[in-house]
Structure formats: structure tokens, C-alpha cells
């Protein structure tokens, strides 16, 4: 986008949803996060979290892997980029409108 465009145009609807932003935020800080840890930290139900992960996974933003009776979730390169871009857009909004 050009600098004259409205910051809202930079927001990604898929990423912008609050729970998904929370998931991506956690994954940005640890290489892999356990499903249970995500669920408990973000206060989601199993079904709710599974649904969000499915959406993010289908968009290629996260990947999941089962190991030793646990499901580990990690951020893909595209996910990292999408999260950073979303956070930058949100900060730009805060800066512009308070």
C-alpha cells in the first residue's frame, strides 16, 4: 500500500480475528506451542481452538504436528509475515487514531 492509503486496508480479515491473533502472537514467541497450552492461555474450548487452527492451517499460516500424544503447533514463514504485517497495521491505526 502507499502511505496515503487508509491503514484499515492493511488489515487481514483472516488474521485479524482476536483469537487467531492470540494464537499467532504465542507462536511468534516460541518455536512450537502445545495445543493444551494454547487453549488454556487463550481461554478457548477444544473445538473452538481446533477450528481456528484449521482455518490458519488451510491458509498456510501455521502447521501442526502430533508427537508423543501431544499436538504441537508452529508458525510458518507466511504466518510470521502475516502476523508481523497485521501487528504493524494495528499499530499504525493506534498511532493515527489513538
Amino acid at each position: 500500500m502507499t502511505t496515503d492509503e487508509h491503514p484499515l486496508t492493511d488489515l487481514d480479515e483472516l488474521v485479524h480475528q482476536r483469537a487467531r491473533l492470540g494464537i499467532l502472537a504465542m507462536l511468534r514467541e516460541a518455536a512450537k506451542v502445545d495445543f493444551v497450552r494454547l487453549r488454556d492461555t487463550l481461554g478457548l474450548t477444544d473445538g473452538n481452538l481446533a477450528r481456528h487452527l484449521q482455518v490458519l492451517s488451510e491458509a498456510g499460516l501455521v502447521s501442526t504436528k502430533k508427537a508423543q500424544s501431544r499436538t504441537w503447533v508452529s508458525l510458518t514463514a507466511a504466518g510470521r509475515k502475516a502476523f508481523d504485517k497485521e501487528l504493524a497495521a494495528l499499530r499504525a491505526l493506534v498511532e493515527r487514531f489513538g
Binding site: 492470540g22 514467541e29 516460541a30 506451542v33 493506534v94
Partner: protein, 241 residues
């Protein structure tokens, strides 16, 4: 929820995750132990500071005076001029054990917290650090060969397994994003430099003869890392409280 609240919430989640997933105390303590436990070996080696082999420890064992092989030199590399291969063996055996202990700690921590670092990254770093250790010792062995006693500080003296430990501490600081570990690394390198200088300057540097003897110098180095581990542990507890 306003946008600024949302940004604040995201930052909060990131901060809490970072706190929960980081902690350099245990790896620092393990590296400190690795160094501190080398002290008796260095003390023993320097106690027999002679070209004719260690005295007290080996009793009447006569070491061969033939031209040493490369492997002999590799295993002798340290900062004294003895024919004592305990130091080489110590690093070759204890360093992989320390690495395995650190890897086990990360594995257990991931299972406990549900937050994990990249296993391949730890393995790669461990491989590189151990490779650097062996390369360091090989360099020391080659550089020290033929260097006469009394010629001053030999090239190989300046590159020792202790510097590889320093590398490990800085890698740890990077992986954990730990300021404490970074400061510990700087303090450790400074102590290492001072220790080399003080030991060469000291007239009583064999065994445990004085504070600047080889035994104590190595022990102090380990203590630097152990103290840093204590500080990191306290900081972790405070942050999580």
C-alpha cells in the same frame, strides 16, 4: 474492544509467552559445572608442570618420550606444558555429556510448559559448538607442537576449550534472548583473559598453590557462570511471580 486494547492484549500474550518459554539458568549452571569440574584436572596437570610427565598422580608411570602423534597432541592441548592427557579426555567426554544434559533439560521444559524451542536448532548449535571444541583442540595441538617451555604464551594457549564454552554461553544468550547470559558471557571472557595473564605472571601457578593457580583459575571461571545461573534463576522467579 478498541484497537489499542487489542494491541495491548497481543503484546501481553507475547510477553507472557516469552517469559514462560525462556530461562537460561539451568543451561548456564550446567556450563558452569562443566568448567568448574575441569578445575581438579587442570590442577593435576599443572601440578606436574614438566615435560617428563605428571608426577604425583601417575606415581612411577613412565610416559613415552618418543615423538608424539597428532592424537597425543590433540589430547594434551591445554595451557601448561605437561604430558598429561587428562584435560583432553575431560573435554572430549564431559562436553558431550553437558550438551546431552542441556538437550534433556530443553526437552523436559517443553513437556512441562507446552512451549518449545526448535530441537533441530539446539542440535545444530550443539554440533557446531562441539565441532569448534575439537577444532580448537586440534589447533592448539598443532600450534603448541614444538613450542618451547619458557617461550611465553603459545598460540594454542590463547585458543582453548574455555573459549568454546564462551561461544556456548553467547549462543545460549541468543537462543534465550537472555541479557543475564550475555553479561555472563562477557564476564566469563574477561575472567578468562585475566586468568591467563595472572596465571602466567604468578610464580605460584601450579595445582592449587594460590588464587591464580591453574586449579583456582578454572574454578573461578566456573563460579562466574554458576553465579550468573543463580542470578538468572532469581530473575526468572521474580518475573513469573
Amino acid at each position: 474492544m478498541s484497537v489499542s486494547d487489542l494491541v495491548g492484549e497481543i503484546e501481553g500474550v507475547r510477553r507472557r509467552t516469552r517469559r514462560a518459554s525462556s530461562g537460561a539458568a539451568v543451561p548456564l549452571a550446567l556450563l558452569g559445572l562443566l568448567v568448574a569440574l575441569a578445575a581438579p584436572v587442570y590442577a593435576l596437570a599443572s601440578d606436574s608442570n614438566t615435560f617428563y610427565g605428571p608426577g604425583p598422580a601417575y606415581g612411577e608411570l613412565t610416559l613415552p618420550l618418543a615423538e608424539p602423534t597428532f592424537l597425543d597432541r590433540l589430547l594434551w592441548v591445554h595451557s601448561t606444558s605437561t604430558r598429561y592427557d587428562g584435560i583432553g579426555w575431560y573435554w572430549l567426554l564431559a562436553a558431550p555429556l553437558a550438551f546431552a544434559a542441556i538437550a534433556a533439560y530443553y526437552h523436559l521444559r517443553a513437556r512441562r510448559t507446552g512451549l518449545s524451542i526448535d530441537g533441530w536448532r539446539v542440535a545444530a548449535v550443539g554440533g557446531v559448538v562441539f565441532g569448534a571444541l575439537v577444532a580448537t583442540m586440534a589447533y592448539g595441538a598443532l600450534a603448541n607442537a614444538g613450542w618451547g617451555f619458557g617461550d611465553g604464551i603459545r598460540p594454542g594457549d590463547l585458543v582453548s576449550p574455555f573459549l568454546v564454552v564462551a561461544l556456548g554461553v553467547f549462543v545460549l544468550a541468543w537462543v534465550e534472548r537472555s541479557v543475564t547470559a550475555a553479561v555472563a558471557g562477557v564476564a566469563y571472557v574477561a575472567a578468562l583473559g585475566f586468568g591467563h595473564w595472572a596465571t602466567f605472571e604468578s610464580q605460584l601457578n601450579n595445582g592449587w598453590q594460590g588464587p591464580f593457580s591453574w586449579g583456582f583459575m578454572v574454578l573461578w571461571l566456573g563460579v562466574v557462570l554458576l553465579v550468573a545461573a543463580g542470578v538468572a534463576g532469581l530473575a526468572q522467579r521474580t518475573r513469573r511471580a
